[in-house]
Point group: C2
Chain length 586, copies 2
């Protein structure tokens, strides 16, 4: 479909309002949720033409012979839901498959920060996803990833985005702002490159979206971050932090992802502190395919907000008009009102917010157009040479070695920097079931230097076998952990054959496999299918002994050097507090 | 002063927040009115640098040897007030003199629609005012006049702005949107030129400001107007109309001008209907110099809103953050928060909102830079030839003639279309004290065709003499009314000598004169001085017998053909319902 801007349609829409032309479709018998006034309006019908709302009220005069009538049967008519911050890659599917899964849930606009794709394929990968989104009934906007690579000098990702690349991308049609500014130290310490990126967005009048993940830090450092022009944040976990951000002029995105679920804690800002909710938004950030398949998308977040005591009309504003206003798109998005895109979600009950029908661009959502990723998108696992068992050897002398291990636990993205003693056998340190320590390797896979980082991880719970993933935030090299080097090799080989994905193996047998052949990150299979695969992979982790919830997600974060305390990249162990490379042998 | 954009200052501001550089100024001991959260925050200080707020909270570490400290002495600190719709020409002064008068009243940003100047000098005149505003501590933005001339084909103004001119102006720095779209029929009937103007603004992502003055009309016609992309309106006089506009996605500008005062009536939308106030704004539209001199500017409107029962914090939002968000300028305007321009208004009492100190761009307001209008600005009264008594003769035959007269009354901008019988003497119809009918003439004065329109006006109350004005909405030709042709001639001659303005004369003597030599609309004298002149002119009107309140304003509207029912332009009497020229003899 081609979506024409309002500027081209003003005459056509007035023609319909005035009865000079017929509406394409009218919705009768609904209860309009008016997010401008925060009211429910009974007894108003909606006339739709050219994919937009022409008018609401008495629309009888807009009905012509070709006008289709939809009977809302008393349902609430809610504006299409807007997710102002998410990573499609977390769902592990293409934008098309994502749209197919979330449109029936009422999400009709998504502001994607395709940071993971950018780390693998740079500007080119970002553009594929933007172009893929263009013909969809889901409105797909891009927030340009601002930190690629996330940890310059300490990892090798598939691309680097400098100020020039970011400035170029900010000029693309469909680009809404700068993506989450994770480089908090760079901002507040005045790094020139970081500030040049921010300036590039501000000069275009586009927002700079934030990521202030320092819980409890709400003093002059937070204000410095905001003074730099960053004016939204989805990394807020306490009421006090939310209040501080709102007061300082930030828009606070209440996040309800698969793992990080902040809505309940933040609801108190509205239910207890009673602040103006206009700058509060609902977002998903990262959701797993099974979350969408089983529980929904933005509808799930709205339900959560309502269940947390937020007035349903306010919760709906937080998922509609507030987001449209944040991104300066009120003419197109966020409300059911004259001129806006006719994205309308039908729900029976505002307290149990479950969409049963969705109009996008004024029509039912049919089959989505296919998008072909180019062949190179499927060739992202480019090892410098085949991995050997020798590559995995961590040498030490003596009988016992003090080794550094990354300590992990369920539902916690931070890690611990452990030093533990392990026996030395045959001049090397191996994984230990007793100590719950697996060997960990990060194998550069972007056709770069071919380096391999080695270390240990404590707490995965593996009793045998190995697990591997080409999703490894944010460098997305091949990350593999295991109790035996042979199984680690086997796991890597399987992922190379699958052209990327996540796998669990033991004794030369594949126990679970999620195939993600596009960029090693996503697939063009349906969300339900990939959800089944990820659930099965979780089972496989458990069968290997892992007690961790969402183990594949926790595993994929072991490379994430921007978050404390210890991580592994293809260049080695990163002390993620001092930002130094450290040796596995302490 | 040169105001640097935030994009250029992000590093400098973080330097101050982090203590690497000193603040220029800190404000201590105030109570911060937080318009984001709608709260008052005690015990927070504000650090200012580079004309912007660096941060608030504990700012001790930002104080250096050169930092100036301002003790707020417990005053509330309110963001600078924003007027999102006004005509500076109503104040009859230059932008500089306007700024000088309103800054101490707390108005720090003004979105001017210089429709009157545009009708005299077109793009050139608009640009003078924009350039005049640029170096001022008052932030001056332009809404490009959209209807010049207001009544094409039925009047001759000094300029015509077509789509090309409007498109050009929309690209100027400091242009915020399209000015009030008064051509309601053109919008809803689908006029191509009107829609091309709207499209030009929408394509630039700038709002199209409205003027829906059809009181009580809130059906599909209003929705057609909004569907065309017009999304604000300052012509709302009833609660029901306000509610309809808000629901349909318009931002409603509660107006408190000198003559039109809608705030009290509209307050009920908030105090009774309880709708979300985010899209409600406070504006002045048209205020006379004496109103500013005696009662204030936006501070006066805020007081009025509070006196009408609106929560003071909501009223302040309506004059600050809401306007900034309407125009997409939240990074610069509307709140006291990191990164924003440091426009801070000090008030002792929120219920009796009276600013006693104002910081603009972080500093006290000193002497304003002088702006020289070019010589041609002073040469706007360009009659084709000197007026003669013969030009004023309205001929008729018989003994009695039925003549058309414009019926006027106090505080009403609409007129009546009257037909009254007057005696014919010496083959002409003259003014009549008995019938309270004055003769009226509109003399083209822009160096154009030199035509003169003639008619009668009933209700001015003049017993003798004549009044004249080069402010005559919207064509601004020389409008003169009188009981004797000789005094009418004399009045016109005095205005020609004064290079424009307003005058009242009798028996060859000047009783009151307001000299407005720039464009025949404004002067570079102080507001207080012009206020004294206009008050004296009102006295002169009264001494001639006129009972009308603000008679000079009512008089200047006699040419305003866009508002019913009968008007006079230089082409003749305009039936402002059917939009036809009609003869003074019925």
């Amino acid at each position: 479909m081609s979506r024409r801007p309002l500027a081209e349609l003003t005459r056509e829409l007035t023609d319909v309002c005035m009865g000079r032309a017929a509406a394409d479709r009218v919705v009768r018998g609904g209860r309009l949720v008016n997010v401008h006034t925060r009211e429910v309006l009974d007894g108003v019908d909606v006339a739709i033409a050219h994919g937009r709302v022409a008018m609401f009220g008495d629309v009888s005069h807009t009905v012509g012979p070709g006008t289709e009538t939809i009977d809302a049967e008393g349902a609430y008519l809610v504006p299409g839901l807007i997710d102002t911050h998410l990573h499609v890659e977390s769902v592990m599917v293409t934008v098309t498959r994502f749209a197919e899964a979330v449109l029936p849930r009422g999400t009709t606009a998504a502001f994607i920060d395709n940071h993971e794709m950018a780390n693998v394929f740079g500007l080119e990968g970002m553009r594929w996803m933007l172009e893929e989104g263009r013909p969809l009934p889901l409105k797909v906007f891009l927030a340009v990833p601002s930190c690629v690579p996330a940890l310059p000098g300490m990892e090798d990702a598939g691309a680097e985005l400098g100020v020039d690349e970011i400035r170029e991308a900010l000029g693309w049609e469909g680009v809404a702002g700068l993506g989450e500014m994770m480089n908090m130290p760079g901002v507040i310490e005045g790094d020139e490159g970081v500030h040049a990126e921010i300036a590039a967005a501000l000069e275009r009048g586009k927002p700079v979206t934030g990521h202030w993940s320092l819980a409890g830090v709400r003093d002059h450092r937070l204000q410095a971050y905001i003074a730099a022009g960053v004016d939204s944040c989805h990394e807020t976990t306490s009421r006090e932090d939310a209040l501080a951000k709102l007061r300082a002029g930030m828009w606070v995105q209440f996040r309800e992802g698969s793992t990080f679920r902040d809505v309940e804690a933040l609801a108190a800002v509205l239910t207890e502190d009673g602040v103006d909710p206009r700058h509060c938004l609902l977002v998903t950030d990262d959701v797993l395919p099974e979350t969408i398949a089983l529980d929904g998308h933005m509808d799930r977040v709205v339900r959560r907000a309502i269940a947390s005591g937020i007035d349903p009309l306010v919760a709906i504003q937080m998922a509609t008009v507030n987001g449209a206003e944040y991104f300066g798109m009120r003419h197109d998005l966020g409300s059911i009102a004259p001129g806006r895109l006719a994205d309308i979600v039908f729900v029976e009950d505002l307290d149990d917010f479950r969409p049963h029908r969705v109009l996008a661009d004024g029509g039912e959502v049919g089959e989505l157009p296919a998008f072909e990723y180019p062949p190179e998108a499927y060739e992202s696992i480019r090892l410098a040479r085949p991995l050997t068992q020798e590559d995995l050897r961590i040498e030490a002398s003596g009988e016992v070695a003090a080794v550094r291990a990354i300590g992990v636990a369920s539902e916690r993205v931070t890690t611990e920097h452990l030093v533990v003693e392990l026996p030395v056998e045959d001049g090397e340190v191996r994984a230990s079931v007793e100590a719950d320590i697996a060997k960990l390797a990060s194998v550069e896979r972007h056709g770069g230097p071919g380096t391999i980082g080695l270390g240990f991880v404590q707490g995965l719970g593996l009793k045998r076998g190995a697990v591997a993933s080409s999703i490894a935030h944010d460098n997305h090299n091949l990350l593999v952990a295991g109790m035996s080097d042979a199984d680690m090799l086997f796991a890597v080989q399987r992922l190379v054959e699958a052209r990327g994905g996540m796998v669990a193996v033991a004794d030369g047998e594949v126990l679970g496999l999620v195939e993600l052949p596009i960029a090693g990150l996503i697939t063009d299979r349906p969300v339900t299918e990939i959800a089944a695969q990820t659930l099965a992979l979780g089972e496989a982790y458990r069968s290997l002994g892992s007690p961790i919830k969402n183990p594949e997600m926790i595993f994929s974060f072991l490379s994430l050097g921007v978050i404390p305390a210890l991580r592994l990249t293809n260049r080695g162990l990163v002390d993620a507090v001092t930002f130094e490379l450290v040796s596995p042998i302490a």
